[in-house]
């Protein structure tokens, strides 16, 4: 009798994730699937809403990166209001950038500290009783103390630019609705001994060094785990630099050859299509010119370091050069190097924040620009997890008539499925007893992509992990449930 392993965290919003691994009578894996029930109802929810309200409402999509949705929607509505997002006032542009890099910084810190570091510091098959954030604090209290302050710093950057920690209103069509005050700037730039922009740069370097040390000590594991080639997509600046806020779309293949470059994202649909499959509501985007089979791609930190030519801050650039030298200048397909790339980006974000805080345009200057209104706009931003698309059509009464969102977890759907398949084939297949450590490696592969699995709804009583062993008829063989407390 063949059997099926299902890892099913009963979660929420765009975030219901489940892993199914089907095994035959000899315990050989014969198929794997990662189901992430992407949340689509939100697009209908936004229809009929005023365009200014949509910019605020979309933050309810995701409790992890609401700022990315806020800014992406604002960028789309900039276009509707006749103001290209690269033509905002200096104050509008820099305040938004500060908000965005604050979001990226705190998000990357959360991922590394909360989700990745337990596996890296203790090992993927270590005792789960301490393979968690509390275990990290027990064993490495100084890392935990710094990570909490780094998170807090990023949240404060968001609060002073967006107006609030959650449900911010800072970005508006054509610009921003506030300046930074001198007090707000000083609290971040100078702050206290352990809470200032320079300290964040320093600690970001320490986090990166931690990963690099681990990678050197466990090279085979980190480099070989769920490694596979793919295409890569991100925004890049006009000169090829990494730019997480704005740019043109660039896609490269697994050899680094350009597929398209500096594409105006208003025309993204000419270059990217979305495929549906019968077993999941989540779509599978692909590059049109390569077709459905060969056109899938990855987004996020790994992709961004594979597409950009350089990073425009000195410390992150130095690390980028080390990273590129390691992969011999070729695109890096190693899933676990996503952590490496993410930490280089965290360092870059810290440098950008520090430099922006010194810019007088944050404190004074025009906030909003206006132009000739049109009925449609696309916004694209490099969210922490990857390229995020917002597309709206608006009627003459400023009401949204169409909304299409393509989130980064969707773009990484195929890659995450392949990563799960890699673990199933290389770690689980052939074993009669599937251990917790083996299943954790499935999660490690998924975690590398930092998908939003539990973002925006949070009711008590939902179980974080549900493993079902089923036969081919779907009948239950055995079941393991991890309860929250």
């Amino acid at each position: 009798m063949s059997r099926k392993i299902v890892i099913d965290p009963l979660t929420r919003v765009e975030g219901h994730g489940k892993v199914t691994i089907r095994m035959d009578d000899d315990h050989r894996v014969v198929g794997t699937r990662l189901h992430i029930v992407e949340f689509r109802g939100f697009e209908r929810f936004v229809q009929g809403r005023p365009l200014w309200e949509a910019i605020v409402l979309v933050q309810r999509l995701c409790g992890i990166c609401p700022v990315s949705h806020h800014l992406c929607a604002a960028k789309a509505m900039d276009v509707v209001m006749g103001v290209p997002s690269d033509a905002l006032t200096a104050t509008g542009d820099k305040m938004r950038r500060l908000m965005h890099y604050g979001q990226v910084f705190q998000s990357h810190v959360l991922h590394f500290f909360h989700l990745a570091s337990p596996d890296l510091l203790f090992g993927m098959e270590s005792d789960p009783a301490h393979r968690n954030i509390v275990g990290v604090i027990d064993a490495f209290p100084e890392i935990g103390r710094k990570a909490v302050l780094m998170r807090k710093f990023g949240q404060e950057v968001i609060r002073v630019t967006a107006g609030k920690k959650i449900h911010g209103t800072g970005a508006i069509p054509g610009g921003i609705n506030k300046h930074l005050t001198g007090e707000e700037r000083d609290a971040l730039l100078v702050g206290t001994a352990d809470f200032n922009a320079d300290r964040m740069v320093e600690w970001a370097q320490e986090g990166l060094a931690l990963f690099k040390d681990y990678q050197r000590a466990h090279t085979a594991l980190i480099d070989g785990f769920a490694a596979f080639p793919s295409n890569y997509l991100s925004l890049v600046r006009a000169d090829g630099a990494m730019d997480l806020y704005h740019g043109g779309l660039r896609a490269v293949d697994s050899d680094g050859a350009t597929i398209f470059d500096h594409v105006d994202y208003q025309h993204y649909a000419d270059y990217i299509a979305e495929e549906t499959r019968s077993w999941t509501y989540m779509k599978f985007p692909f590059i049109r010119s390569l077709g459905r089979e060969k056109g899938w791609y990855r987004v996020g930190p790994l992709a961004r370091l594979n597409t950009c030519d350089f990073i425009p801050t000195p410390l992150a650039q130095a690390e980028f050069e080390i990273y590129k030298a390691y992969s011999k200048g070729r695109p890096d397909g190693m899933s676990m190097h996503m952590h490496w790339a993410r930490l280089i980006e965290a360092l870059h974000a810290a440098e950008v924040i520090r430099d922006l805080l010194k810019d007088p345009d944050l404190l004074a200057g025009d906030l909003v620009k206006t132009g000739t209104r049109r009925g449609e706009g696309v916004g694209v931003i490099e969210a922490p997890r990857g390229t995020l698309f917002h597309h709206y059509q608006v009627d003459d009464n400023d009401l949204v008539t169409m909304c299409n969102l393509m989130v980064s977890t969707t773009s990484n759907n195929e890659a995450m499925n392949r990563a799960v398949g890699w673990v199933a084939d290389h770690v689980i297949s052939g074993h009669a007893d599937v251990t917790e450590g083996m299943l954790n490696q499935v999660e490690v592969a998924i975690r590398a992509y930092d998908p939003c699995l539990s973002c925006a709804t949070h009711a008590l009583g939902r179980m974080p992990l549900h493993i079902r062993l089923e036969d081919t008829n779907g009948d239950l063989i055995s079941e393991i449930v991890r309860t929250p407390e």
Partner: protein
Amino acid sequence: MMPSLSPGERLLIYGIGNVGRQDDGLGVRFVEHLERLGPPAHVTLEANYQLAPEDALQLADHDVVLFVDATVAPDAPAPYVIAPVLPASEISFSSHALSMGSLLALCTRLYGRAPRAYAMALPAYSFEVNAELSEGARGNLEQAMRDAWPACAGTGQEDASTGRHRIAR
């Protein structure tokens, strides 16, 4: 077990959830209501989609924390139930959210102290993309707000044996 405050103690009320997903936002609605009424100086109000590690900083500055969240537990009594929360170390399935127990454990490990903690769980019934609460959830919330406010304002029932104000029903 009923939470109670001694004179001079600081209370943090932390609402959790997403008001864009109907009843999931019960905890945030609760806090928003108290904000409109204007809490006394010893009460801090906070709300977010979910708990995160940096919340440990705020917890460490308070004597008591009341987490307020929706619940889908089938045996949760309406209109709400309050239960103590203890520090706990847990595994999560690739979730960005921290549990209440993990946050308390984090707070204790980092700062050597954690507040007495309680969870107010309000039964929730509907999680569609809609800002409107279901009828049942609205009733639960209204009762919880009626009960909580007097204690927050310092006029709650006083326990004769301890002289402490009771926060909840």
